[in-house]
Subunit: 331 residues, 2 copies
């Protein structure tokens, strides 16, 4: 853990380090410039690495999130990428660039959130750095261990596969929309945005059940985005029944006119989207894994087709490009 | 490699990814949200991980560095931490937060620099992300493999050890000072600041030669800082002869009144500082490894004593705290 004290003048280097050490349940890997990792590689399946950054006023506003929630979310968005490849999370490094207006209390509360998620999933903080900046900037790197012999990739969807999601979509975008209007009336939606969890448990279920290659990714950039990416990379048609997508009562109630757009294009729900063989789908708990459609042979282009009652929406490259630029726009 | 296109509207996601892939000599590990790593763990010595961030207008100014130089430096500062523990660098992930004013050409040039250092040391880029922000923000995570059976730590300095550095100090701070005055008159100093290299080769020499625990760290935060940290963590007195510290002619010439302060407190030279047994020191090439003093038993407090001709400077906790807050102040 490197703390560049001349850039963070409100406190001494050692004080910051002590603050962080006190908060973490396991601080054995911080203190040096490098952390020494000894992942159990006896099976030698290999490791997964991922890195995600959150920038103040781009990905979050300090007026709508607490430092504690931000710490939790910063770790969770990285663990979500590991969940999407059924990797067992082992280590994270945390890089924090701190404006002078934020003090020791901020660091403490942020790391309380980091620690909560790390303890929950038995993940160790293996250093990182703390520097100064104008805006708060968080970049976390996460390392996990490959658990199975099979491969998980966006390219593995095959005609006949069942399309499955692990939970509700749209809640996070709905929560963000409420926060932007300073509307605190629905805790579920706001919490979905501020404290999303990675689907580590469901990823473990899959890892214990599946024994062959399949397609999976998280829906961090939106359900439609994930559907399109799998369709594109696998060269298949993803046929989805909109009514089968889990949508919370609260989202329908708060956003009666726009909830469908939030469900498809909202993003940041950090659920998993997977395409698996029907015989594996049969073994899954239907209260935790929701069938939303089937993979079909693509006739011309890789596309997503979403049936909503009698209306058929087609997402091809044009729609995808337009929608992705218009993050929360209506359909 | 995750590219959050709705935050970087000047170009499409796939275009950015293609740009990066074209520049990298080995782009086999980028494209997915997670990269799959298969370090050779047959010796199972373990891995080292480190993360360092560079923030625009805090760590660098775009008016004084080219994107290419910035790419090189961003990787080098991380590899320097691996060099300091004699780790063989294997992978990096690169997180880039890009203001809208910076375009595809910036990404291309930055990654040309990243690629140059990666190719030089056989390091693979294993993903990362690209998002939007107001200021340019770079956070790189580097992973290396432990090469020896011994331990390297700041705590390992013992009375009787020889204190060694791998090269000149002060040049980088001198270069920064010139850049701030828009004085382009000394390429060596400016280059030392904008394009420092990690001491990977010298780290390899050490790793092949040493067979027991020793103390080492890089001098990224300044030579006096590193001396004090080893003294503190090992509980020893570091007795240094200022005249033995390698100082470039150019630094003496350009900064006749202040060069001593730059040598001791300047920082960002990314040399190695080590404390080793005299019998190992004897085997080192004296043109590459420079003896600057000896480790002594500490009578009261861990301190650094620097002999400069007949004057003796003592760096204890008070001096250290004051100096570290006064980064480029005179002595």
């Amino acid at each position: 853990m490197k703390i560049h004290l001349h850039l963070v003048k409100t406190m001494k280097e050692t004080e910051y380090l002590e603050t962080i050490k006190k908060v973490l349940a396991d601080s054995s890997l911080i203190g040096d410039d490098c952390a020494f990792l000894t992942p159990d590689m006896t099976k030698n399946n290999g490791l997964y690495i991922t890195q995600d950054s959150l920038v103040e006023d781009v990905h979050f506003k300090l007026s709508t999130t607490t430092p504690y929630q931000l710490g939790k979310k910063s770790v969770s968005v990285n663990l979500s990428d590991l969940a999407a490849v059924c990797a067992e999370p082992l280590y994270i490094t945390v890089s924090l660039s701190l404006p002078k207006r934020l003090n020791e209390q901020f660091v403490k509360d942020f790391y309380r959130g980091v620690n909560e998620i790390c303890e929950k999933y038995n993940v160790k903080v293996a250093g990182g750095d703390l520097t100064g900046s104008d805006k708060l900037f968080i970049s976390i790197c996460a390392i996990g261990r490959k658990t199975g012999e099979y491969n998980i990739s966006r390219k593995n969807a095959k005609p006949g596969d069942i399309i499955v999601v692990t939970g509700c979509h749209g809640d996070s975008a709905g929560g963000l929309s409420l926060l932007e209007k300073n509307d605190k009336s629905c805790e579920r939606l706001i919490c979905a945005h501020l404290e999303p969890l990675a689907q580590i448990e469901k990823s473990k279920v899959l890892s214990n059940l599946v024994n062959q290659d399949f397609a999976m990714m998280d829906t961090s950039d939106g359900l439609a985005d994930a559907l399109y990416k799998i369709a594109h990379d696998s060269g298949v048609l993803m046929e989805v029944d909109f009514e089968a997508i889990p949508v919370s009562e609260q989202l329908r109630e708060k956003f009666p006119d726009t909830y469908k757009s939030l469900v498809l294009w909202g993003g940041e729900d950090y659920q998993l989207l997977l395409c698996i063989k029907p015989e594996i789908y049969k073994k899954l708990d239907k209260d935790q894994f929701f069938k939303i459609g089937t993979v079909q042979k693509a006739d011309i282009l890789p596309v997503v087709r979403i049936k909503d009652n009698d209306i058929l929406h087609t997402i091809d490259l044009d729609v995808f490009d337009k929608k992705s630029f218009n993050h929360f726009g209506d359909k």
